[in-house]
């Protein structure tokens, strides 16, 4: 089984420096891309069917295709790497950032070339101190070696690349809010349209891609679209970093074919549940994905299969709910997070999420009423897509509505026993 994204990564070891990375075949994709037309690079990524690994799964080449190209295109154009990774339960990009920073840089430079960007930023979350240090070093090396800056490898193409370390807020992961954060503003989301590809950072054409997405790009260039598609067990190309946290025997992160089933990840790689614990449910791809249950164990973890099963692939890092953990308490924890991290821009989000959090707290404290369930149901609907300015509240509504569906008995017990049965 091929694992292109993690081939240079050994846990606990230093990442490859420039010379080691190049010796292992690194920057060959960049040199190849620079001999191609930008449109050809875009076409290769399109053919590979690479979909965004940040959670939404939007086809990467299609995202790029909205950037104005040619002599009349406004400049500077920007390519931004979203390395904010603040989705609870998600720890996949950290591995790529710390373990092989040159792979990310190469992916960024090739992708920037495809859209003819002039300036690139890595938007990194503040908590990733080690990643910041290693990225700084890799960026300096790439500049010294002529792979960043003016006239890259004699191609005539130039790119400046900067590291921006965020001051911390979940909202920054939303791409338009991220742009505001980079401009030194509060990270409120922006209205779309216009889309960032047309009017993004400082009003200029901008593409925002996730770390894992960008890391796939050099491999597509090196080995071709057919090879990339063959890595996958589904229609979406490539491998995927899958993670498991919670009460399993071996929590961790693995690069596996896209479309590996939940069962295989949970039982073979994470070693199954710890002794004395049973699986009750799971959030498959971070806090903002719908709960799944044991019935779903054979669902393939790819974008379309997960959606068909009523959830989302999200970030592909699953959080396990065991039978000794209170589902209502878990939901309270999740909705507390969303209520706290709401940017306050639109009323349904800041007001609705606070209500949801308060109701769940009441249930946990034994003060729940039967009417609370209806109120939670209506909030799950009203915080869903189409009612709020951005995707934060709809993300919060996903575990809420599925939690109410799968753990109804637990809610009833909280109300009738006037206490949390797990405390």
């Amino acid at each position: 089984m091929e694992t292109p994204l993690t081939r240079n990564i050994t846990l606990g070891k230093m990442p490859p420096d420039f010379a080691q990375y190049e010796k292992a075949g690194g920057y060959a994709a960049l040199r190849k891309a620079l001999r191609m037309a930008p449109g050809e690079v875009m076409a290769a990524v399109k053919e590979a069917n690479l979909r965004g690994r940040g959670g939404a799964g939007f086809p990467t080449a299609q995202k790029w295709s909205f950037v104005p190209m040619g002599d009349d295109a406004p400049h500077p154009k920007y390519l931004i790497c979203n390395a904010d990774e603040m989705e609870p339960g998600t720890f996949k990009d950290r591995l790529l950032l710390e373990g092989d920073p040159h792979q990310l840089l190469e992916g960024m430079i090739v992708s920037a070339y495809a859209v003819q960007a002039d300036v690139s930023y890595i938007f990194l979350r503040w908590a990733y101190k080690l990643a910041a240090q290693r990225l700084e070093q890799a960026i300096a090396e790439a500049y010294r070696q002529g792979y960043l800056g003016r006239n890259i490898a004699g191609s005539g193409y130039s790119l400046e690349l900067h590291l921006h370390v965020s001051a911390g807020r979940y909202m920054c992961g939303e791409e338009t809010a991220l742009l505001n954060a980079l401009e030194g503003k509060r990270a409120n989301p922006r209205a779309k349209p216009p889309y960032p590809q047309v009017s993004g950072l400082w009003g200029k054409p901008t593409v925002v891609n996730n770390v894992e997405t960008l890391c796939c790009v050099p491999h597509i260039l090196n080995h071709g679209a057919a090879w990339f598609k063959n890595l996958s067990r589904s229609g979406d190309g490539g491998t995927k970093l899958y993670g498991v946290s919670g009460r399993v025997k071996k929590p961790g992160l693995w690069e596996l074919p896209m479309g590996t089933t939940i069962r295989e990840i949970l039982e073979e790689h994470a070693g199954g549940m710890r002794d004395g614990y049973q699986l009750r449910g799971l959030l498959p791809g971070g806090a903002s994905t719908d709960f799944m249950v044991a019935d779903h164990l054979d669902v393939a973890m790819d974008f379309d299969s997960m959606q068909a099963a009523g959830s989302r692939l999200g970030t592909g890092t699953m959080i396990i709910l065991d039978d000794k953990t209170c589902p209502v308490g878990m939901l309270h924890n999740l909705e507390h997070f969303f209520a706290q991290e709401s940017c306050g821009w639109c009323t349904p989000c800041w007001s609705g999420l606070s209500w949801v959090e308060q109701i769940l707290k009441g249930l946990e404290d034994g003060k729940g009423q039967v009417s609370d369930l209806e109120r939670l149901q209506s909030h799950a609907r009203l915080l869903g897509p189409g009612h709020t300015f951005c995707a934060l509240a709809p993300g919060a509504a996903e575990p809420l509505q599925s939690g109410l569906k799968y753990f109804g008995d637990d809610f009833d017990r909280h109300i009738h026993e006037k206490r949390c049965p797990w405390k």
């Binding site: 990774e85 603040m86 998600t90 720890f91 590291l163 965020s166 509060r186 946290s245 959080i319």
Partner: protein, 176 residues
């Protein structure tokens, strides 16, 4: 007024951004690194240096979790309260820290050594529960492990205190 050092560090970041406004988050982080937190005076200093309205900068400063607008202790404990850590024992750790330090979330110990803050997911979910103290990550925590970690910081403080007593001040004052 910004110190020479602060001014120099902000200037060194300026080539990453096309205008002063975009530099403001970096500038707030730099002021905080030197002063421990960002006071009203810190806001005024940065606003003046970047030619921004202080009220606008205040809006930015209060938005971000890691800009402290209240004084903090010499060490800031950031206890991850997100879902994986919650499942793996966050409540117990929080209660242990309350008991051990005599402070709740958002509070600072009387000796000014620790401030305890809740924090969203630190990206260490496979090694939950986790926390940070200042820039250092700690994971796979349990109460005994926490005691050991806190003791390390407290020992260092005592050591430094002794060192300060031994070394007479050289008369040069640091940045105001």
């Amino acid at each position: 007024m910004l110190s020479e050092q602060e001014r120099h560090e902000i200037e060194a970041q300026s080539h990453h951004y096309p205008n002063n406004r975009a530099l403001c988050i970096e500038a707030l982080k730099i002021v905080q690194a030197h002063r421990g937190w960002v006071s009203d005076e810190g806001i005024a200093d940065v606003a003046e240096a970047l030619q921004m309205a202080a009220a606008e900068l205040e809006g930015v400063a209060t938005f971000y979790n890691m800009i402290f607008r209240k004084p903090v202790g010499r060490h800031v404990i950031l206890l991850c309260d997100s879902v994986s850590c919650w499942i793996m024992g966050y409540d117990g750790l929080r209660e242990h820290l309350h008991a051990r330090l005599g402070i709740g979330l958002g509070e600072t110990t009387a000796d000014g050594c620790f401030t305890l803050l809740p924090n969203v997911c630190l990206g260490a979910c496979d090694h939950a529960p986790a926390m940070m103290i200042d820039s250092a990550h700690y994971q796979d925590l349990d109460p005994a492990g926490i005691d050991e970690i806190l003791a390390k910081y407290q020992m260092n403080e005592i050591r430094e205190e002794k060192k300060e007593k031994r070394e007479p001040p050289d008369g040069n004052t640091a940045d105001p």
